[in-house]
Amino acid sequence: MEGHQRNLYLYDRFNARVLGVSRDDVITLKYWAKGLDLTFPLLSNVTSFLGTYFQIQPEGRPIFGRRTVVIDKNGVIRYVRDGSPDFKDLLLFLKKLNQEGGQK
């Protein structure tokens, strides 16, 4: 999450917005955001429907798996990576996606 916060100026440059989603409740997320000085939205999804939708809800576990997803402005999922974010790979993808958008 800290890495996303450091990259906000680059996401903005590439016309991207970042959202974090977890199964934690809102109060927990507020403390989490405050502790890490995060300014982007963290979404609480305690019922886990997003985890099910994105297929990262391990059965019987109260947390999501880690997955980074990029959705383009048409609502199409363009990028999916599991595990810790590869920020360089992600930034290169967002740059390319933004260039594609500028050409259309």
Partner: protein, 201 residues
């Protein structure tokens, strides 16, 4: 708004688990070479004066907290050790030094659970630009250990980078300033040989 949306889904507890480790073991090709002027050229990206011979190279395992550094075992009882390092992504997010310093010390040596007292802060020149150097001391009265550290924040492009030295001692032990002298030589000699990845975007 015509913006792409990036969603990061995570189990937040996992993030804490991901803090990295470092090792002095070396496998594969060396990440550095020596220049004709006797400087260390690290992965063709950084150049700096080599530390004295007693310092062992310290490289992070994947996902580590530092880019690379050097470690020295000091005489005296546990935990007498000195480490200095360069960190391309120091803890925190702020692009300014003041904000970054506050964020950094929330997480620095997090596992040790020591409360830091700031011993000194000064403006410095580092890698050709402005920076700040902060000297702190932390004590753990339960384990009867203490640590003295100096952290230098500088800029690489738009992003804050850091150099730091830590020296652990038993509570009654004396600090060895030669480690801090070696560290000062390290960061003062440091140069970037090319633009960072982020500067090329």
């Amino acid at each position: 708004m015509n913006r792409n949306i990036l969603i990061s889904l995570s189990g937040i507890l996992v993030l804490v688990w991901l803090s990295g480790c470092a090792t002095t073991q070396q496998t594969g090709p060396k990440p550095y070479k020596m220049s004709a002027q006797g400087m260390v050229v690290w992965e063709d990206e950084y150049e700096f004066a080599p530390p004295p011979l007693e310092w062992k190279l310290l490289v992070p395992e994947e996902g580590g907290d530092i880019s690379f550094g050097f470690m020295r075992s000091d005489p005296g009882g546990f935990p007498s050790t000195s480490v200095f390092a360069y960190d391309e992504e120091p803890f925190g997010c702020s692009p300014g030094f003041e904000g970054r310093e506050k964020e950094f010390f929330k997480r620095f040596l997090f596992n040790a659970i020591v409360k830091f007292e700031i011993l000194g802060k000064e403006n410095v020149k580092v890698v050709g630009g402005e920076g700040i150097a902060v000297t702190v001391e932390g004590k753990d009265p339960v384990k009867k250990e203490k640590v003295k550290a100096k952290v230098v924040f500088g800029k690489r492009g738009e992003r804050v980078v850091g150099w730091y030295v830590t020296q652990w001692r038993p509570m009654e032990g004396a600090y060895d300033l030669s480690a801090f002298e070696a560290f000062d030589k390290f960061w003062k000699s440091f140069t970037f040989l090319k633009k960072s990845f982020y500067e090329t975007l």
